[in-house]
């Protein structure tokens, strides 16, 4: 498989200013497609991702601002 980095800017009257880059291709130093986590010990306690107080306080502040009646007013037509 050929590996590529950034593509250059296309030249030409109609393409001026449009850079056809390759946002999806993997750079040489970035072969693992996504950040990955190490395996967890299945007997370890569950991570408390949402437990730290700062994020909980921030989320409660945001949740209190949500209009309780918003879902009752929210009406959509059937889509696909």
């Amino acid at each position: 498989m050929e590996r590529t980095g950034r593509l250059g800017t296309l030249k030409g009257n109609r393409l001026e200013g449009i850079a056809l880059t390759t946002p999806g291709t993997l750079d040489e130093q970035d072969r693992v497609p996504f950040p990955s986590k190490k395996s967890q010990d299945p007997t370890a306690p569950a991570p408390k991702n949402l437990d730290p107080k700062p994020i909980r306080d921030r989320m409660m502040d945001r949740m209190r601002k949500v209009d309780p009646k918003q879902s009752e007013r929210y009406r959509q037509r059937t889509g696909e």
Binding site: M1, L10, L20, P33, R58, R77, G79
Partner: protein, 525 residues
């Protein structure tokens, strides 16, 4: 019809399956008691006019073509659709005006579909592109909101939601598309993939407060999936009523002698990038494994009942009945599929998917709360738990459904998902700078960059364009095969040639000339 000859499966893998996602967004005017979704959706898309090309080739579309054979006389939604069309015509909108189709610079399609703004990613060949261009869609919708609100002169009036329900029985979709070899028969695909689609919601569900569907509407309770309530049959060509787990629409948007497009409408719209990556990644692996090794999988006794049962059970832990009498849990079914896909793991991306698949199943079995940094239904349930603890709300309180809705609000200043991602409580897979690129530029592989380059070079001479064809006003038509085997270097050389062209009539000759080097005949392995 059964396949006549199966191509050599030895080299077939996920990299041969072009894919894409279509997402319909919910839309409201927050400043009005009653919104007009037709007008709002149309005007939102049209606000994006200056940055895109817009004359869509509707004659490519045939939603009544049925992969089970023939063509449906009518769709279940025809009556409702006709009524909506007549209403829109009375308001002065033509069909094209109502659709307001745009082909964006990044190769995506952006339009008003059934009163919902819909963003369809460009066709992607890598999972990384898939996630980038899907995330770019959210950014593009945000920009469209900004432009539309600027026209109205009132910031903050529009609400856009990446979800699948209005909690009153109306659903809208997040559809997945996978381009497969035609020799995979539709019946073979349905049989092979159905148990997987039912079971995958424990890892791909977006979470929902309440219950909808043909068995009634309730505002209490919590379930894993937003779409499970709306699945009513195993297969069918309909998409708005009698929704099927496996849609049989036979509209490949490519040579139908060689390809079929699997159009799945049962999935949720996820906020979590990890879930979108895994939904597409696992499904591509399962499809590739079905092609390479079409062996037996456990048939579910009643797949529609099973997906609802899993979705509505606590943590999705209920066992569902197989035709052979066995009872299986969703994680058990996913484990069987996980073992099957080993034969098609070839790329770094494939390895990432199976490692994450193993880890997610292990975490789910140990304690599903472990998935709270990746899975919407788990994260949302935690937020709702905090709200219930602190505000002492009763089950069925409308605030809980409002919080559910707010989780999917794409506004970074109001949506409940975004602080979780920003603080690192939810994993993010894309880099913001790559997403910005993906808003402006197409993928490097497949036909999307070629379509974009042609539209950029000859936009003024194009009569209409679609996924598989570009028609020029002079009468020339240029077909766009999937270009599955073409590498990025060859695509770049073609783009250079297109940029220097004077006449679109020369496109075919250039492709023929370049094909002497190989790789531009659109052939699959």
């Amino acid at each position: 019809m059964e396949p006549q000859r199966r191509r050599d499966p030895c080299n077939f893998g996920t990299g041969d399956i072009l894919c894409g996602i279509e997402t319909e967004f919910g839309i409201i005017r927050k400043d009005l008691e009653i919104s007009d979704p037709v007008l709002e959706s149309m005007e939102l898309v049209r606000a994006y006019r200056e940055t895109s090309f817009g004359i869509w080739a509707y004659d490519e579309e045939d939603p009544r073509a049925d992969a089970r054979g023939g063509r449906a006389e009518r769709l279940a939604q025809d009556e409702e659709e006709e009524a909506f069309l007549q209403t829109d015509i009375r308001r002065g909108f033509s069909f094209r005006e109502s659709k307001s189709d745009r082909i964006l610079k990044n190769g995506a399609r952006f339009y008003n579909d059934h009163t919902h703004p819909e963003y369809s990613t460009p066709e992607c060949l890598t999972l990384r592109d898939m996630i980038l261009f899907d995330r770019a869609g959210t950014e593009i919708l945000r920009e469209a909101v900004r432009l539309r609100e600027a026209v109205v002169g009132q910031p903050g009036i529009l609400g856009l939601y990446r979800n699948n329900t209005d909690f009153h029985g109306h659903s809208y979709g997040c559809h997945e598309n996978y381009l497969l070899p035609r020799e995979m028969s539709f019946s073979e695909i349905v049989r092979g993939i159905t148990p997987f689609l039912v079971a995958r919601i424990i890892l791909t569900g977006a979470g929902k407060v309440g219950q909808e569907g043909e068995d009634g509407i309730r505002s209490d309770g919590y379930q894993l999936s937003q779409r499970a309530d709306f699945m009513e049959t195993l297969t069918g060509v309909d998409t708005m009523q009698r929704r099927p787990l496996v849609n049989s629409r036979d509209e490949p948007h490519a040579d139908r002698e060689r390809y079929r497009r699997l159009h799945l409408i049962c999935g949720d719209a996820n906020m979590s990038e990890w879930q979108t990556a895994m939904k597409m990644g696992m499904t591509r692996l399962v499809l590739a494994s079905l092609f390479v090794h079409p062996g037996k999988v456990p048939d579910l006794a009643d797949p529609v009942a099973a997906i609802r049962s899993i979705s509505r059970s606590r943590k999705g832990e209920v066992a569902v009945a197989c035709e052979d009498g066995r009872m299986m849990t969703a994680d058990g079914i996913l484990s069987l599929y996980r073992e099957r896909v080993d034969v098609v793991v070839r790329s770094e991306e494939d390895r990432w998917v199976v490692e994450e698949w193993d880890r997610a199943l292990s975490d789910y079995r140990a304690d599903s709360d472990r998935l709270g940094d990746r899975v919407d239904w788990v994260a949302k349930e935690s937020l709702l738990g905090w709200a219930c603890q602190e505000q002492r709300v009763a089950p069925g309180d409308p605030w809980l459904q409002s919080l559910d809705l707010a989780y999917h609000d794409i506004d970074p200043g109001e949506g409940l998902f975004w602080p979780l991602e920003e603080e690192g409580s939810m994993r993010r897979l894309t880099r913001p700078e790559d997403v910005r690129d993906a808003c402006e530029h197409p993928p490097a592989l497949g036909r999307a960059p070629i379509r974009s380059a042609i539209l950029s070079r000859f936009g003024g001479e194009v009569r209409e364009a679609g996924w598989e064809r570009i028609a020029f006003s002079g009468g020339v038509t240029f077909d766009l095969p999937p270009y599955l085997e073409t590498d990025a270097g060859k695509v770049r050389r073609l783009l250079d040639r297109i940029a220097g062209m004077d006449d679109p009539a020369h496109l075919e000759a250039i492709i023929r000339e370049m094909n002497k080097e190989g790789g531009f005949d659109g052939a699959n392995r």
